[in-house]
């Protein structure tokens, strides 16, 4: 059996003259939770749509469970970015309808709908029409609708947006439970906290291209660790600065500076030997948030630089 549930290679899409997605590849290991991160308008949704065969790529191909995505529709559950339900339908019927679209029996769909809704604290609105529900509630209904047929691959496009913290927590639990059931989960987000907690692997898309692929730790490892050091003894600031790597900043009583993995022990040795003492010391990996911002800024900077060079070249020509 293939180790990857989703394999998309070189996906490219033009909207008019604009290249919305440029040579994006995704490989989602079976049974994992995989995050696609990126700023607004980076091309996440278009990449997911192409991966699922909803729109055709201008170049590249996508395989789900080793086949064309259209051939395995019944094994996929999908929550689109633009939420949509028939407002006149009752919640239970709406979920059963979405299950029926993926081949689930209507009555079984209705039964599972009631179970899911009760588990998620929505039992009050089981037979309520969608139009009477809040946006968040309707979103939870749609989420249930996209997993009611127990799919092997669950694709969620920005699932957390529009949910309150309690429902976000419930959704995280649901995602983990589906993964434990054996499903593979692919989701997009621009909220790093969820990705950091949930993802086994992730890809970062910025300016239409994939800029990073790996685990959360890999992403965090892109930036040096951050050190906060507070000496116990009073000493001249310049003397302390000489002890620390270049670029150390004094804010209040503490010094802040980045440090490479290899430099940690030598620095500790220097501090111990100096006799300045340690009133406080923390060495932390930067959060995924920082890594993400770092990557996106780098990409933006290179774009600005290119644009600048182009402008100069044009002016010279």
């Amino acid at each position: 059996m293939n180790d990857f549930s989703v394999e998309a290679r070189g996906l490219t899409k033009y909207f008019g003259d604009f290249k919305a997605v440029d040579d994006v590849s995704l490989a989602v290991p079976t049974g994992s939770i995989y995050g696609v991160l990126g700023p607004n308008g980076a091309g996440k949704t278009t990449s997911l749509r192409m991966t699922l065969g909803i729109i055709d790529p201008d170049a590249g191909s996508s395989r789900v469970f080793g086949e064309r995505p259209q051939a395995v529709r019944h094994r996929i559950g999908y929550l689109p970015e633009e939420r949509g339900l028939y407002p006149g339908m009752k919640a239970r019927e709406a979920i059963a309808f979405m299950g029926a679209l993926r081949g689930l029996d209507w009555s079984e769909g209705r039964r599972r709908a009631a179970t899911f809704m009760t588990e998620l604290g929505l039992e009050r609105v089981i037979d309520e029409k969608i139009r009477k529900m809040s946006k968040g509630m309707a979103q939870m209904i749609q989420l249930i609708g996209s997993i009611v047929h127990a799919p092997d691959l669950i694709v969620l496009d920005e699932p957390f947006s529009g949910l309150d913290p309690v429902n976000q927590e419930r959704l995280e639990t649901l995602v983990r439970r589906e993964r434990d059931r054996g499903a593979t989960i692919l989701f997009s987000t621009h909220v790093m906290a969820h990705a950091e907690r949930l993802c086994d692997r992730l890809a970062i898309i910025a300016r239409s291209q994939r800029r990073f692929e790996g685990t959360v730790d890999d992403a965090r490892g892109l930036l040096p660790m951050q050190v906060r050091y507070t000496p116990r003894a009073d000493a001249d600031a310049s003397a302390i600065a000489a002890l620390l790597p270049a670029g150390a900043e004094l804010r209040g009583d503490s010094w802040f500076f980045p440090i490479d993995d290899a430099d940690v022990e030598p620095m500790l040795t220097r501090i111990t030997a100096s006799g300045l003492g340690v009133a406080g010391l923390s060495i932390t990996r930067p959060a995924l948030h920082d890594a993400f911002v770092h990557i996106v800024r780098q990409v933006d900077a290179s774009f600005d630089a290119n644009a600048g060079t182009d402008a100069v070249e044009e002016a010279l020509a």
Binding site: I55, Q70, R73, H74, Y78, E82, L85, M98, L101, G103
Partner: protein, 434 residues
């Protein structure tokens, strides 16, 4: 059942229930009542008008007193053989009071169509319109009176009338049956198929389309929607058919059959019913219904495809005019074909896919071959599939991909512009000094 069909029925079920289980559907179902009511009111008004006008019309013969009985006898005899109604004959005795036929023609209180005066051999006939029917009839009367005078009393002709009760139906009646079939199918399609144009607007409006597109092939979404609307149409027809049958039954029980037989129009209707289409009533009705379904699916598929490209409700409203004109065009073509069976025009109408169901239903009335209908149904079914396939391709390429591809001229224009820029760049390159 294959997954494709299953998906189709899931969509059709949703659409059917969403339409039928609303109060608006009741209004839709009962809408023909307004039409029937208006028609009745209009018809009654028109017939009253015609009745009052008919009572006032006359033709006048000014003749010698001796000719009056002969004139009356000739009028009775000749009137029975005329197909067109001639106004009532008024006979006046020649004398100074009736000397001027023009004055008689201009008398107030009645419409006088023609006045005959003078000797019967050389009568003066004043008529309201030149070469009028009424004037010719008065001349015929004079001629008849003169002949009977010259020949003397003749033994009365005693004709024996025999009717061809089993001699087959006339071509004209069959053609009118064909025309009736075309008209009914057209009317039902016009009333019911046009709705499909806005059917995808709901999914586009509430964003459900992406769920559908991700879950099932778009072909089954389109076909399912068509099927759902067809279900609504069939329900509509069945409802009115039951209403009509029940109404007819009640009327038949209420009215005395003898009175019914004496009414002239009823006997005409009975004659039309007694006429049989060339393929026989059961086959004709059955195939007519099947052709209605095909006509609905064909036109519905076109409207669905066109409507799917529209971005706003306003665009859909704008599309309804060309769509109605298209339908009327198909109707005109088919009626022209129905009135000339076997002509080249009728062959064209039978082959052209969108008029084919109408024209073939008309053919079932006049032509007794049945196998050709199987061919026509397959041909039309292929076109339904083709139209749906093309609509889906356009929808996928345009609407789902976020482009506004139905404005194909723009897309084409942009592509041409891009190609032109590229060509200009390549030709400019050799001349570039760098």
């Amino acid at each position: 059942m294959t997954p494709f069909l299953k998906n189709m029925f899931v969509i059709a079920r949703r659409d059917f229930l969403a339409i039928v289980a609303t109060p608006t559907f009741l209004l839709f179902l009962l809408a023909p009542l307004f039409m029937v009511g208006m028609g009745l009111a209009g018809g009654m008004g028109a017939s009253q008008l015609a009745d009052s006008a008919r009572g006032a019309g006359r033709i006048v013969a000014v003749a010698d007193a001796s000719d009056v009985p002969a004139l009356r006898a000739a009028d009775v005899r000749l009137r029975g053989g005329l197909t067109r109604q001639v106004p009532a004959l008024v006979i006046r005795i020649a004398g100074p009071a009736n000397a001027d036929p023009v004055a008689i023609a201009r008398e107030k209180g009645s419409d006088t169509y023609a006045v005959l005066s003078g000797p019967l051999a050389t009568p003066r006939i004043v008529e309201r319109e030149p070469d009028s029917n009424a004037g010719r009839y008065l001349a015929l009367l004079a001629d008849d009176v003169l002949r009977s005078k010259a020949a003397g009393p003749l033994p009365p002709v005693a004709p024996r009338f025999e009717s061809l009760s089993s001699g087959g139906t006339s071509i004209a009646l069959q053609q009118s049956l064909g025309f009736g079939a075309v008209f009914i199918i057209f009317l039902l399609t016009l009333l019911l198929a046009g709705q499909t144009v806005s059917s995808l607007a709901e999914e586009k409006g509430n964003k459900v389309i992406e769920i559908l597109a991700a879950a099932v092939p778009l072909e089954s979404v389109f076909l399912g929607k068509l099927l759902g609307f067809l279900g609504v149409a069939v329900l509509f027809i069945a409802f009115w058919l039951v209403m009509a049958l029940a109404g007819g039954l009640i009327a038949a029980l209420q009215i005395d059959p003898a009175a019914l037989a004496s009414v002239q129009s009823a006997s005409k209707a009975a004659a039309a019913l007694a006429a049989a289409p060339a393929t026989g009533w059961p086959f004709f009705l059955g195939i007519g219904f099947v052709y209605f379904i095909l006509s609905f699916l064909l036109l519905g598929a076109v409207f669905l495809g066109v409507g799917a490209q529209a971005a706003t409700v306003r665009e859909i409203q704008m599309l309804s005019l060309p769509i109605t004109i298209f339908q009327v065009g198909m109707f005109s073509l088919s009626t022209a074909a129905a009135s000339a069976p076997g002509s080249r025009l009728s062959t064209i109408a039978q082959i052209f896919p969108f008029s084919s169901p109408l024209a073939m239903a008309a053919r079932a009335a006049t032509d007794d071959s049945k196998a050709v209908h199987l061919l026509a149904l397959s041909w039309q079914a292929i076109w339904v599939a083709l139209v749906v396939f093309l609509s889906v391709r356009l929808f996928r390429a345009g609407v789902l991909s976020g482009g506004s591809s139905w404005k194909f001229w723009r897309r084409g224009g942009r592509a041409v512009a891009r190609a032109a820029t590229a060509a200009a760049a390549t030709t400019a390159q050799p001349a570039d000094p760098h």
